[in-house]
């Protein structure tokens, strides 16, 4: 039974219908095999791009969908309900388009943005380093100016290691944050190509889940990129990164909600069919109440991220609400997927049913885009006057 959604326009309703159809056809049937085999879904993101799903919250002028976050996030949720790794990568791609869209010059935007929003160029986001998780001021990877014969700036030489890059080694471009000067105001943002001499990627991390889309480290060994790939000004990097943070958290909140919804749907379907002691197990009160709490958690997570999204769409502050949404939705996803395994019993623990995968996928959502402990830190600092 599809989710009963509140949507602002009939265009948005059509978009959700399109997403469901596409996702039912292209994502759902393939997710299991790709995740088990750790096989990257070649060509799939191009398909999503052709359907217009990879530039939804960006301007039509550059080929985007001009959709409010309220709608974009619900699309993401529908994708996540079929294949979380693809939804997460879509969220990361959307995030990776943000620096150029918000801080690039018109020339830069005209040159690169249309291909990015059309999904012809898939993006990754490269902020973390091995020893700097959520602590951006501790970054050490550096970009040094390269000058031409006349002493003019022609490019930057990049040296250092980055970590935890979703789509690493597969993406066509990365929004990269590196150090151009000491201190927290010495970070700059670059839109770098996915392949350049002196850039190599580590082997994919062996993760518990989200295995179809690789997460890798990147080694920058003096690679030189053109000077015009600097987005914004030197030293503006942290400002750019922070401006994307809250939106990225909403993306994960939506993915987590979709994942939880999928787990709930499987659990409800199973509980309606399986019988024990002569009755359907959904009619046993102990299990019925568990399912009710799962459903309440999913509904409430959705309402919470949509509240934050609507604030963003209205141009109102939404940072605290984004942290609340990420915290509530990913904790809900962890609880709901874990309980879904329980509902299916021994079957839930086997790979014959998808809930075990959902549970493994949910765990990382409590961790990335700022662990939920970091979200609590953000909220509590807002409460400290």
């Amino acid at each position: 039974m599809p989710v009963d959604r509140l949507l602002p326009t009939s265009e948005a309703e059509d978009l959700i219908m399109l997403t469901r159809e596409l996702a039912d056809k292209e994502l759902a049937p393939r997710a299991d095999d790709h995740e088990k085999g750790e096989i990257y879904p070649e060509g799939l993101f191009a398909t999503l791009g052709r359907a217009g799903l990879l530039g939804l919250p960006y301007p039509e002028a550059f080929g985007g969908g001009d959709q409010p976050y309220e709608v974009y996030l619900q699309v993401l949720e529908e994708l996540a309900a079929r294949w979380a790794a693809v939804a997460v990568a879509t969220s990361v791609h959307t995030l990776a388009c943000h620096p150029l869209n918000a801080f690039g010059t018109d020339a830069q935007k005209e040159r690169w943005l249309p291909a990015m929003l059309a999904g012809e160029a898939i993006g990754g986001y490269s902020l973390s380093e091995p020893q700097a998780g959520s602590d951006a001021a501790a970054l050490t990877c550096k970009a040094e100016p390269v000058t031409g014969a006349g002493g003019e700036l022609t490019g930057y030489r990049i040296t250092g290691n980055k970590a935890w890059i979703t789509h690493g080694g597969k993406a066509d471009f990365y929004s990269l944050f590196t150090r151009t000067a000491p201190g927290s105001r010495g970070i700059s943002c670059f839109l770098v190509p996915g392949a350049v001499e002196g850039l190599s990627f580590g082997k994919p991390e062996e993760k518990m889940g989200l295995q179809a889309v690789p997460t890798t480290s990147a080694m920058w060994d003096g690679a030189v990129i053109d000077a015009d790939r600097l987005i914004g000004t030197e030293g503006q990097g942290l400002q750019i990164a922070f401006s994307a943070l809250d939106s990225g958290r909403l993306g994960i909140a939506a993915c987590a909600t979709g994942l939880a919804q999928a787990a709930l749907d499987v659990a409800v379907g199973y509980a309606n069919e399986r019988t024990a002691f002569g009755r359907r197990i959904v009619d046993h009160q102990g299990l019925g109440f568990l399912l009710a709490d799962m459903a309440a958690a999913v509904d409430s997570a959705r309402a919470t991220y949509l509240d934050a999204a609507r604030r963003r769409d209205l141009g109102r502050p939404f940072g605290r609400q984004a942290s609340v949404a990420k915290l509530i939705a990913t904790d809900a996803a962890m609880k709901v997927t874990t309980d879904a395994v329980q509902v299916l019993g021994g079957y839930g623990y086997t790979r014959d049913f998808p809930v075990e995968r959902y549970m493994r996928e949910a765990k990382i959502m409590q961790i990335f885009e700022g662990t939920n402990q970091i979200q609590r830190l953000v909220i509590s600092r807002e409460l400290a006057q």
Binding site: E206, R274, A276, V341, G345, K363, I364, Q373
Partner: protein, 381 residues
Amino acid sequence: MRRVLFESEHEAFRDSVRSFIDKEMTPNYGAWERAGIVPRQLFTAAGRLGLFASVPEQYGGAGITDFRFHTVFCEEAARAGVAPAAVGLTLHAEVCIPYFLGLATDEQKQRWLPGLADGTLIAAIAMTEPGTGSDLSGIRTRAVRDGDEYVVNGNKTFITNGINADLVITAVRTGEHPHKGLSLLVIERGMPGFERGRNLEKVGMHAQDTAELSFTDVRVPVANLLGAEGEGFYGLTRNLPMERLGIAVAALAQATAAVEYTIDYVRQRTAFGKPIGALQHTRFRLAELVTEIDVTQQFLDRCVIEANDGTLSPVDAAKAKWWATELQGRVIDACVQMHGGYGYMLEYPIARDWIDSRVSRIYGGSTEIMKEIIGRSLELG
């Protein structure tokens, strides 16, 4: 908190177990995970270690039934991060062998106990069927008497040691009564019509074989009946408290090990210039976890003493099982979270613990079944 469970012989056994694990298990563990099974030689090695000592001396064991040795083995396997490879061994030792000790005739004991004691005969128990969980009355595998034999037809699933097993204690229906129509037959490796299905793909516990079994017109001699015909339900339920306590003990051992890994990790990992252990939130979370573990340890230790005395009630075993396994889930999940991104990477033992441990709330009777048992004992109406 200080424990008062162990005597010096258990601590001596702990030393032997440690060197056994270091030598026999840890070096091969990765290969077993990839193979989805442990080798048969692990059982014979465990026999030499003394893990099957509950078999009486006349049949090659030591006649020692002391659950504390089992507890020591579980704790050390968890600490070394090889618990899934120990599951088949402990099933053999603490679930299957007691069936033979309690129900077998002298003739059966002579046939099977020596092999069970030295690990050359591996045992399994086949109760669950596709579509039936803990509801024994739903068992449909049928054994029809034909002269001196039963003809067995049916399917079983989720069978631990399913691939390795030589002797499968199989719950079969010999009559229509939901409970009194159940009997136990020992079905042996090689009997015609006894097929093993695939080794099931599981979310974790990869080093342990869990299989589907099928029986098509398998002819089993009446001499392989364990206990009397129609007394299978009694046989299946009498050993459940011990089985559940065993799961609880293993669950708590794994939670304890997870907290130990995590304490090491938070001492080393830094954020914002300090070890993350210096952050108050980390300190509070770990304080919570060690408290929960300490509280539960004292309870389980009491259960072990009662198990040794033969006074452990099914209701108390149910309490131990659901409480300890739910605790294990909570604790290990929190430990993953404290590892951050590294906790999601399979090279860290905490990540493996997380996926391995999920099943303990399900097998041996799910949390819901345990609550049903406890709830009924309260006679609420």
